[in-house]
């Protein structure tokens, strides 16, 4: 009897495994299959028609897709790096503050609570060419007398989206790096000062190596849901006007639901999934490395 029972950790993990297999893994396999078919929602039979890599070869030659892909990677790279930088700056500022740390920390978490849809809406409002806060302010200050078409011009819209994205997610980095700063042992810092390090050297050789795992945790968490940018973009521009802010995710939604071309949308989705997994896997690896290093040093 006893030998028949599963080990406890298997029992404990089983529900999670079953659920994820059923709700994530199985649909993904289906998605993989349908990316090899010319499946259209309007013609359900087409899901059984195998066309090999035709969808993928078509994607490979599709300029619109590659532009959207490039824009997505650019957006993510810019956003993640800037968020990291700003987050670090914010954390250092808050840590220096002599008073009101609790309040500051709470304010820091503020944007984290906003759902991406809200962020999108909020910035759509602020960047509105007619009634938006940004144009109103620029006009009142006399910097311009025109209504700047923030969400209509491709480049400006990209900047507006990037701003919204950074506003909403810098908090993640700031909070984790701040947690790292708080957890940091004082002795090495004081030793560095006594040893004659400049503040920059202290930061570079003592503080930053210690903070690295915290920054990578934030990176990892962020990379888990980079696709949240979809929500923001959908609300702000919905990829438009005329595809000028199209990213991978909005393109998928449009192809699948507006055009009902599920097959090719699934092929795109697979590219998007692999992109996300690549981002996460990189940071997870870095996280493990940074952890090991800090564990060895401290």
């Amino acid at each position: 009897m006893k030998a028949m029972r599963l080990p406890p950790h298997v029992m404990l993990l089983l529900p999670a495994v079953i659920l994820l297999a059923a709700v994530i893994l199985f649909p993904l396999l289906l998605s993989l299959w349908s990316s090899f078919t010319p499946f259209r929602l309007t013609r359900p039979d087409s899901v059984w028609q195998f066309v090999g890599l035709r969808n993928y070869t078509r994607l490979a030659g599709d300029a619109d897709f590659w532009v959207a892909f490039g824009r997505t990677v650019l957006l993510l790279t810019l956003a993640l790096n800037l968020e990291m930088l700003f987050g670090l700056g914010l954390a250092l500022l808050v840590e220096r503050a002599s008073r009101g740390q609790r309040v500051l920390r709470t304010i820091l978490m503020f944007p984290m609570m906003f759902s991406p849809v809200l962020v999108g809406f909020q910035f759509k409002f602020m960047f509105n060419d007619n009634v938006g806060l940004v144009n109103n302010a620029l006009q009142s200050l006399g910097l311009t007398d025109q209504a700047i078409p923030w969400l209509i011009d491709g480049k400006l819209a990209f900047i507006a989206i990037l701003t919204a994205e950074i506003w909403s997610s810098t908090a993640v980095f700031a909070i984790f790096i701040l947690a790292g700063l708080m957890a940091m042992p004082r002795d090495p810092l004081e030793a560095a000062r006594v040893d004659g390090c400049t503040p920059w050297q202290t930061f570079r050789y003592v503080t930053w190596p210690f903070l690295m795992p915290f920054a990578f945790i934030a990176m990892t968490i962020r990379s888990l849901d980079v696709a949240r940018a979809y929500d923001i973009i959908t609300i702000m521009t919905d990829g438009g006007p005329a595809g000028r802010t199209e990213v991978l995710w909005t393109l998928i939604a449009r192809t699948a639901y507006s055009d009902a071309r599920m097959g090719i949308a699934n092929a795109m989705a697979y590219v998007a999934i692999l992109l996300s997994i690549a981002f996460t896997a990189i940071f997870f690896r870095q996280l493990a490395k940074a952890r090991a290093q800090v564990a060895a040093d401290w």
Partner: protein
């Protein structure tokens, strides 16, 4: 004397510069939220005024009253959406917590082969973009007849939340020394009793914050909900918000009011758990 004085002056200026930078940063963080709240209280004329009116002349709660008096502004059933959001978020959170607690405990307390690979595997399921996942789910749900239902949304939100809940709860159980469970077993507990009487009460604040995090994820989720819900019977608030933008003329005031309604529960909950959330996520950072 000179070196001391100049060093002190430099210190003072840098302190002021830092305080100024801090103030600007905090202002940027707070401004959009403040803007939304302000505009939800202003009459539409004032919002649309040219040149802009900076100091509000009139504040009222008309938008909120309109929203909650049955069918809201522009025929949008805010109350229904609110109810849907609540049912879906709460149910999926409870289930995700139960599953996540089991999984998190397994990762925190047992040693097994390929542990870190399993962990990474769980996390990777979380990275699948909602919109990509919605394609096959749309098809499957349509076949099963659970599209546009609470059940369908709950299922997918549980799956969405389980990996992260496992990560958090793993962190919280790691913070409870193993000795305590052992001491309880020596004191006469079974492993099950030791868990419920010692380990669970100690990890409870952390578990609560993991739950709140899961709740917020469901509460805020948009990509999946926008494709898998269709009717007022299951649409959630974020999708409802889109109803406003879909209209030809945007009712900025109404939208701002709805936004405030959405953000308030999230605000309160996040404030309540912020401390535990961070400690749970970083607990593994140093110990590894």
């Amino acid at each position: 004397m000179d070196r001391n004085a100049s060093a002190r002056a430099r210190k003072l200026t840098s302190r002021w510069a830092l305080n100024l930078a801090l103030f600007v940063a905090m202002a940027i963080i707070c401004l959009p939220g403040f803007w939304i709240v302000l505009n939800s209280l202003r009459p539409t004329v004032e919002i649309m005024a040219k040149p802009p009116i900076w100091i509000p002349r009139e504040l009222n709660f008309d938008a909120y009253v309109a929203m909650f008096s049955g069918v809201g502004q522009g025929g949008i059933p805010v109350l229904e959406y609110f109810r849907n959001s609540l049912i879906i978020s709460v149910t999926s959170t409870i289930i995700a917590l139960a599953i996540g607690m089991a999984g998190g405990y397994a990762f925190a307390r047992y040693r097994f082969a390929y542990k870190s690979s399993w962990f990474l595997g769980f996390m990777l399921t979380r990275t699948v973009p909602g919109i990509a996942l919605s394609l096959p789910l749309f098809f499957i749900y349509a076949r099963l007849g659970i599209i546009d239902t609470h059940l369908g949304m709950i299922l997918v939100y549980v799956a969405l939340n389980v990996p992260f809940t496992i990560w958090l709860i793993d962190g919280f159980f790691r913070q409870v020394p193993r000795d305590l469970s052992e001491a309880a077993q020596i004191d006469g507990c079974t492993r099950w009793q030791a868990f419920w009487r010692v380990e669970f009460p100690l990890a409870r604040p952390g578990i609560a914050s993991a739950g709140i995090f899961a709740f917020l994820t469901s509460w805020n989720e948009f990509a999946l909900a926008s494709q898998l819900t269709r009717s007022t019977g299951s649409k959630t608030l974020p999708v409802g918000l889109l109803d406003y933008t879909a209209e030809f003329t945007i009712d900025w005031r109404g939208m701002c009011a709805l936004a405030v309604v959405m953000i308030i529960p999230a605000l309160l909950l996040t404030y309540a758990v912020q401390k535990h959330l961070v400690s749970g996520l970083t607990s593994g950072a140093i110990k590894g």
